[in-house]
């Protein structure tokens, strides 16, 4: 989606200002939630790169959030590393593991790739749970400190929110540049027609691995923030459920749209909270809402927006990313 022109820029500026002033109008609970939204957005942006742009269906993103979270938690809480170092290592580690996980993608595609990455997520969960010596097992790791950066403590909710927001902004800017660079174009070529891409000199192998590695690194970045945000981690949040949830964020927001993950994260993180007014029915209503949304706009919220904004256009063919050939 191109939010081209002035209205788009103005709108974005307004959103940015709203995000900056948000903590002033919110109670600590609200600040915590939008911090969680920012963190999940980062993870979903990563998945959107791998899946939405490069067309590689991955259900491994939860594992990378988990690896990032444990990396930052173990290094800061157990070894007293500064946050910056742990954060960087989490990103690099996930980049490397993501690169390796890309190799199966060179052999298999579509649903088969989804199954392999699904298995990977569950395997990582088992390791996190069973290797108690390192990960604390089911006891988890508590007392994860919120960092001080350049003498500025992020202990308080709003301060940590600004850290999350800052990272989100940097990630957004880098991703924006990436998807508009030749790399982004090559990713999309990979998604739409790898055979043709290869005949145009696009090194599909290298770009596939890169799409996995970068997407996974962003998962790690999100994890590295998740751990100090919650200040406690155990393996359960990083099981397959989170992968499916992140997939939901990308698809519901609009796979392959730059702003899709931000909207998707709203749906996944904030919508259930808003629905809590319905008490014990809130998850049921949430499930129905997601199904309705998918029936009404299978190409996600931004796909719907695009369709409504450009009614003259023919309905675009189903996005290649969403297509799994038999």
């Amino acid at each position: 989606m191109r939010l081209a022109g002035r209205p788009g820029a103005v709108f974005l500026a307004l959103v940015a200002i709203a995000l900056i002033v948000a903590p002033m109008g919110l109670k600590p609970h609200g600040v915590y939630l939008i911090s969680m939204w920012a963190v999940m957005s980062i993870a979903a942006i990563g998945l959107n790169l791998t899946l939405g742009y490069a067309g590689q269906i991955s259900l491994a993103q939860a594992a990378f959030v988990g690896i990032g979270a444990y990396c930052s938690a173990i290094l800061t809480a157990k070894f007293g590393w500064p946050f910056g170092g742990a954060f960087a290592l989490a990103a690099v580690l996930c980049f490397a593991i993501g690169w390796l996980l890309g190799y199966p993608a060179l052999r298999v595609q579509h649903h088969y790739l989804a199954f392999v990455t699904l298995a990977f997520t569950t395997l990582v969960y088992l390791v996190l749970r069973n290797e108690e010596k390192w990960t604390g097992g089911t006891y988890g790791i508590s007392g994860i400190p919120r960092p001080s950066l350049f003498g500025w403590s992020t202990k308080g909710g709003p301060a940590f929110y600004y850290l999350c927001l800052f990272v989100l902004a940097v990630v957004s800017w880098l991703t924006w540049r990436l998807v508009r660079s030749p790399w982004g174009r090559a990713f999309m070529a990979l998604r739409e027609n790898p055979l043709r891409a290869s005949s145009l000199g696009v090194d599909t192998r290298r770009y596939t691995l890169m799409a996995f590695a970068i997407g996974s690194a962003l998962g790690g970045v999100a994890g590295a923030l998740y751990a100090p945000l919650v200040e406690y981690i155990d393996p359960t949040p990083f099981a397959l459920g989170l992968s499916l949830n992140l997939l939901l964020m990308v698809i519901v927001g609009g796979s392959g749209y730059f702003f899709g993950p931000y909207l998707g994260a709203i749906v996944s993180v904030l919508l259930p909270e808003w629905l809590r007014v319905t008490d014990s029915l809130y998850l049921i209503i949430y499930a129905v809402a997601v199904m309705l949304l998918m029936v009404v706009c299978p190409s996600g919220l931004l796909g719907l927006a695009e369709r409504l904004l450009k009614p003259a256009r023919k309905e675009p063919v189903a996005r290649a990313a969403a297509k799994a050939a038999p």
Partner: protein, 291 residues
């Protein structure tokens, strides 16, 4: 003797996986539906039955009939018409998301409107045990193996030998061509959904007396069926039954001889190995894949 016990118990569990895996695979074949709610599909029919007994005051046998009918309607027809049909032409992923949401809906629905706690479920057969060469197997387990294998073989016979079955296979392999040849493709796809609904209902009635009925039962079962379908071969009915039985045995062997903590990992390694080195599955035919 211990090994025999493990093998026999593994086969009994594997038969259930197979039953669920077959339906899973049929849906994929004919309509490219990766049903992430398949486990919940197995969980639900038992609650249809319990609900019919509790709220409708029906006797058990009648409740079973009602449960089967409800399954056919809800998990067969409604699932297809309301969820799959509108999304099918938009590729696999929106439908995947929908089935994930559907799984949540079923789980939460049962929990909210029936009970969060595990429920006992009346047994269809006696709970006696038989002894085979030192290993013990319950009559119920034996019945499960027999019924599952029979059902799958009957299904295979149906698909290969009857006209409708062959039309269904034609639809699965090439819907466009099938349509040209005069096959009523829409109807064939509906049959697939009905067969799946019947299979999961059967699985539900067979296992609930042993495993109890609980809203969260689908989580484990769905995953197992999923792995069984892929390992056995995504395009072969007998592949799915081989996959299911293999998985049941491998799971028990892993727990016995490798590590109970990592018992869940072994089937996953099996899954990854099969996908990477024999993607058509152990018994499947090679399938055309994009390079």
């Amino acid at each position: 003797m211990a090994l025999l016990q493990i093998l026999i118990s593994g086969l009994a569990t594997g038969a259930i996986y197979a039953l669920v895996a077959v339906g899973f695979m049929l849906l994929w074949q004919t309509s490219q539906t990766i049903n992430f709610a398949q486990g919940e599909f197995v969980m639900l029919p038992a609650f249809f039955v319990l609900g019919a007994m509790k709220f409708g005051g029906m006797p058990f046998w009648l409740a079973i009939v009602v449960g089967l009918l409800l399954s056919l309607i809800v998990l067969g027809v409604l699932f297809k018409v309301l969820l799959v049909d509108p999304m099918l032409r938009h590729g696999v992923l929106p439908l995947v998301i929908s089935t994930i949401a559907l799984a949540l809906f079923f789980k939460e629905g049962v929990k909210t409107w029936y009970a969060a706690e595990a429920q006992p479920f009346p047994a269809l057969w006696s709970n006696d045990n038989l002894e085979i060469g030192g290993a013990v197997i319950s009559v119920q387990n034996l019945v499960i193996i027999v019924v599952a294998v029979t059902a799958v073989l009957a299904l295979q016979w149906f698909l290969a030998r009857t006209r409708t079955g062959r039309c269904m296979q034609a639809t699965a392999q090439n819907p466009a061509l099938a349509r040209i040849l005069g096959v009523r493709v829409e109807r064939m796809i509906l049959y697939t959904f009905l067969i799946n609904a019947a299979l999961v209902a059967l699985a539900s009635f067979l296992i609930s007396p042993i495993y109890l009925a609980k809203f969260s039962n689908g989580e484990t079962l769905g995953m197992a069926a999923f792995i069984a379908a892929i390992v056995g071969g995504f395009n072969q009915v007998r592949g799915a039954i081989a996959g299911g039985l293999l998985l049941g045995v491998v799971d028990n062997l892993a727990a016995s001889y490798i590590s109970t903590q990592y018992r869940g990992a072994i089937p996953l390694f099996l899954l990854i190995a099969v996908i990477l080195f024999r993607p058509q599955g152990l018994l499947g035919r090679a399938e055309e894949r994009s390079v």
